[in-house]
């Protein structure tokens, strides 16, 4: 089992998130995180889905995502050069004596202090998962009161976009297929 990161473009319609989540539940795929947000295009949302799966399962997930009528495109960016980011807000218990120490630690991780009270700090950190894990580890002794993480978002590097077809089947759209069936056309990517 290994971590796979999928980037999926979906139609921005009611219930689409439910369809994707339901698919993972129904097929017993192990989902680690799922984020969803708007894209540069109206009517199109983008999901970053992190799953724990072996290679064969990852290909099945991809094919099953493509089966959903509202899913426009799926890219497995796991092994592609890509930028992967997680954001965390961490509320840490501090006292007047150790506040400076905590702020220095945050600084080392290039995290930002976004809220200060007499008893606590909120630290905002963005980065790859291991960097965030590292900060959490050094903060834990001070007492983490509360924490929230967004889950991963990912984008492949470079200017080119990725093939709109599931590579597991080495399949392509037939020649002369109606343009409306081609997500590449539909999305003008």
């Amino acid at each position: 089992m290994a971590k796979h990161i999928f980037v999926s473009y979906v139609e921005d319609k009611p219930g689409v998130l439910n369809r994707v989540a339901s698919l993972f539940r129904r097929r017993a795929f192990n989902i680690e995180s799922l984020t969803v947000g708007h894209t540069e295009q109206g009517g199109v949302s983008r999901m970053t889905i992190v799953v724990d799966a072996d290679e064969m399962t990852a290909r099945r997930i991809e094919a099953n995502l493509y089966k959903l009528v509202n899913v426009l495109r799926v890219d497995d960016v796991t092994n592609q050069p890509s930028v992967v980011r997680d954001l965390a807000l961490i509320k840490v218990a501090v006292t007047s004596t150790n506040r400076t120490e905590v702020m220095q630690l945050a600084d080392v991780f290039r995290a930002r202090i976004v809220d200060v009270t007499n008893e606590s700090l909120i630290i905002e950190i963005t980065g790859a998962e291991d960097k965030i894990e590292g900060l959490i580890e050094v903060l834990r002794p001070f007492g983490i009161i509360e924490m929230v993480r967004t889950g991963l978002v990912a984008m492949s590097r470079g200017a080119s976009s990725v093939s709109p077809n599931p590579p597991l089947v080495a399949a392509a759209l037939p020649e002369g297929a109606p343009a409306q069936l081609d997500p590449a056309v539909a999305m003008s990517v």
Binding site: S22, Y66, V69, Q180
Partner: protein, 580 residues
């Protein structure tokens, strides 16, 4: 042109070619029912909405066209769930239209409100909630397109009451489907074809696994051309029966849990499996770890998510089967596999002598005899709709289907109660064909209220109840695997003859093998529906059998002699309901 949402529903259904719709009215769908009277669509009033979905399913399977069903919100829609799941598992194209409470009331737990798109999400190919009259036309067009294209399946359209009542411009052409993410027609790349051809042209012991996809794709001609040229024997899945004529010399018969021994052994010994429009169901493979270890595998399948799902294949070709075979055929070389075919036929000879049909008449009535006689006297030309259980397997073994779409049965979901309503749908699809129901006493009782639908619609269907006073298949498992502890399997049934008569339908009872022929002929000659109660051996079992999860070659074979005679089972009074 201004129309109400309700009128638009029917305008679209008429344009989609719907002639018959199966349904049940209710509050939230009333505006649509009111508009129905002005359109040339025959509405069949069912007795339970589950029946409506099975009828639409049976219609679709018999005709190859999309079946349509309609019901109200809440309980009307939830009653459809079993039928929708059945259609989903067997890739049957149906469109279900359900009423929904007014859009303002959604989420308020209004009377007869259920989140139907939520409930049916995992058991539909796609579903819709429509809250505006303006969206009805495009949604219904998309629903029919999605249901019928690619790998077919059920689509549900849930329409709020205010959307049905609202008024808007109706423009059919402007309402063309807009489905940017839907790609039903993927095709494999050329290199995959070459890989497949290399395996095909070098195989010594090739075998075709023929599934339901052959019929749905219309690929019978291509499969036969392939098999005959390369001399490849063919094993059938349950839903594939009829896709290739049973009488074709290369057709070996059914594979799987109750498939014939020579077929399963051929699979285990083949060096190349060609899976044509089938999905390696667990009832077909047995223990996956020991399945066809000698064989390379080529899977031609329209649904990419099926490839490598349960059986890892060497070449997966995504695409419509007919188109794919057309592309493959020029590269398929003529071959001679007579050694392999002779070998399989030798195995077959051994099994054939165990066949119950070759036993003399010892006074026992076996389901196999009944089904064999029905096959014989209908010349194998009937559409047989079977239910789920022992009789379903005997039907598959003893009714030799030569024609496509001549066997309709719930394979994937195994839905008891499917047969009677599905047969009604099949009869509407093919009014000129002879339609038979083969059902067990258990399954028949699940949906027997649809006899009233048959009576109201004045249909001619021959219903053969294979009555053994048990939930036979479960009883068989209890006999084999649970020390004959018959928990909740003995079943008391009503007098089916009297029951039929209560619906003004002819009823008959048959208890002897010698009476079967006359009964079948009498039923066929009768102008109306006939319900036939065949009182068969109570503790007969389906052989051969691969126990669930066992290796495909580890079959429990047919006993060599008459089981009942050997065990000295009671020859006297048929014990109706061993519960006494």
């Amino acid at each position: 042109m201004k129309k109400t949402g309700a009128q638009i529903v029917w305008e679209c259904l008429v344009r989609e070619g719907v002639k018959t719709i199966f349904g049940y009215p209710g509050g939230a769908i009333l505006p649509t029912y009111d508009a129905m009277l002005d359109y040339p669509i025959h509405h069949v009033l069912v007795r339970h909405e589950q029946g409506a979905t099975h009828m639409a399913d049976g219609y679709a399977r018999a005709s190859g066209k999309v079946g349509a069903a309609i019901a109200t919100s809440g309980p009307g829609a939830t009653n459809m769930v079993t039928g929708i799941a059945t259609a989903m598992m067997d890739s049957s194209p149906i469109v279900c239209i359900t009423g929904q409470v007014g859009s303002k009331a959604i989420g308020s737990d209004a009377f007869q409100e259920t989140d139907v798109t939520g409930v049916t999400l995992p058991i539909t190919k796609h579903n819709y909630l429509v809250t505006r009259a303006e969206d009805i036309a495009r949604t219904i067009r998309e629903a029919f397109y999605i249901a019928a294209s690619g790998r077919p399946g059920p689509v549900l359209v849930d329409i709020t009451k205010d959307a049905q009542q609202g008024t808007c411009d109706f423009d059919w052409d402007a309402a063309a489907p807009q489905l940017p993410g839907y790609r039903p027609n993927l095709r494999a790349l050329p290199e995959e074809f070459q890989k497949a051809l290399d395996l095909i042209n070098n195989a010594k012991r090739p075998l075709i696994l023929a599934g339901h996809g052959i019929m749905m794709s219309g690929a019978r001609k291509q499969v036969l051309e392939f098999a005959e040229r390369a001399q490849v024997p063919i094993a059938m899945t349950l839903l594939g029966l009829g896709a290739i004529p049973a009488s074709h010399p290369l057709n070996l018969g059914m594979m799987g849990m109750h498939g014939e021994a020579w077929v399963n052994n051929a699979i285990q010994q083949a060096d190349l499996l060609l899976a044509f429009g089938m999905r390696f169901d667990d009832r077909v493979t047995g223990n996956i770890k020991t399945y066809a270890l000698n064989a390379k595998k080529i899977h031609i399948e329209i649904d990419p998510s099926e490839i490598n799902k349960s059986v890892k294949v060497d070449v997966g070709i995504v695409g419509d089967l007919r188109e794919t075979l057309e592309e493959l055929l020029p590269g398929v070389k003529a071959a001679d596999h007579s050694e392999w075919i002779d070998y399989i036929n030798e195995m077959k000879g051994d099994s054939a002598v165990r066949d119950i049909q070759s036993l003399p008449d010892t006074g026992h009535l076996y389901a196999a005899h009944v089904i064999n006689d029905i096959w014989h006297y209908t010349s194998g030309k009937a559409i047989v709709v079977s239910d789920v259980g022992q009789h379903q397997m005997w039907e598959a073994q003893y009714y030799k289907h030569d024609d496509e779409r001549s066997l309709i049965t719930s394979g994937g979901l195994g839905t008891m109660g499917f047969a009677l309503p599905a047969a009604i749908g099949a009869k509407f699809a093919c009014p000129d064909k002879e339609v038979w129901v083969v059902a067990g006493d258990g399954g028949f009782q699940m949906t027997m209220a649809e006899l009233a639908t048959i009576a109201q619609e004045n249909l001619k269907i021959n219903v053969a109840i294979i009555n053994n006073g048990y939930l036979g298949m479960v009883r068989q498992w209890q006999e084999f695997f649970y020390e004959k502890r018959y928990a909740a399997t003995p079943m008391l049934s009503p007098d089916f003859v009297k029951l039929a008569e209560a619906f003004d339908i002819k009823g008959m009872r048959v208890t002897k093998r010698s009476e079967v022929q006359a009964a079948v002929e009498e039923a066929r000659a009768h102008p109306g529906t006939v319900v036939m109660d065949f009182r068969v051996e109570q503790e007969d079992s389906v052989f051969p059998m691969v126990p669930a999860g066992a290796d495909l070659h580890a079959m429990i074979r047919r006993p060599k002699r008459d089981v009942m005679a050997e065990t000295g089972a009671d020859e006297g009074e048929w014990d109706l309901g061993a519960t006494k």
